[in-house]
Amino acid sequence: MAGARYSASGNQTLTTTFTTALTVGSNATTAQRNFITSFLFGNEGTPADLVSVWTAQRVTALGTATLVTATKRDPADRVAQAACGENHSVEPTYTAAEEVHESPINHRGTYRWMAMPGDEIVTPATVGAGIGFKALHASAVTDFRAEAVWVE
């Protein structure tokens, strides 16, 4: 697939309700499709032997978050057009029943997914549309992290 490749990662603290570590979506002025080719989930610090369900789900609004500057995989490319955020204080607007991936993962483990060309997770070219990566746990309050790689 032609296009520029970018990556970004974000973290968040586990709570008893879903909280979002990373969103990748179209910015407020210029919308484009984002093709997510890879993502990675994991926990930080000294995680215990517990399991969280990680969810990647479609969003229609990116919420309020700390801005993340996407890394250009090729330094010759332009700056990423997608808006990325971490550590959300206002959760994104998730589309019900639009989970694109769910994985229960031990806090001491990591999970990476890579797409074959043509089988990426695609987000529509509408402002605010994207993918959010979130998790929850009933008791743990450690930090968790998500990383995504996409083409735009």
Binding site: R108, W113, A115, M116, G118, D119, V122, P124, A125, V127
Partner: protein, 93 residues
């Protein structure tokens, strides 16, 4: 691809790696992307999970009720984008 004899599918749409460092466990699996909803599904032979197959898209589907009828995801994306453009036009008046 993951364990070519037992765990893989013929034409996977992706690849997942789960690592569990304390015990040195590494689990690898193939995935496919549903052509109707774009969901990433993990291939687990013998799991009993019911999936579907779309003969128009020529690929396995996630098996969800909404994906029983063939509406390619590309068409859904276009519908979302068309709705967005219509809203923008209406906002401008």
């Amino acid at each position: 691809m993951a364990n070519i004899n037992r765990l893989s599918m013929r034409r996977p749409g992706g690849y997942g790696v789960l690592t569990f460092e304390p015990l040195g466990i590494l689990e690898e699996h193939d995935t496919f992307t549903c052509p109707h909803c774009n969901k990433v599904c993990i291939v687990r032979p013998g799991s009993g999970t019911h999936r579907g197959f779309c003969f128009r898209c020529n690929g396995p589907t996630c098996g969800g009720n909404r994906c029983q009828v063939c509406v390619p995801f590309e068409r859904k994306l276009e519908a979302m984008e068309n709705r967005y453009r219509l809203h923008r036009l209406m906002e401008r008046g």
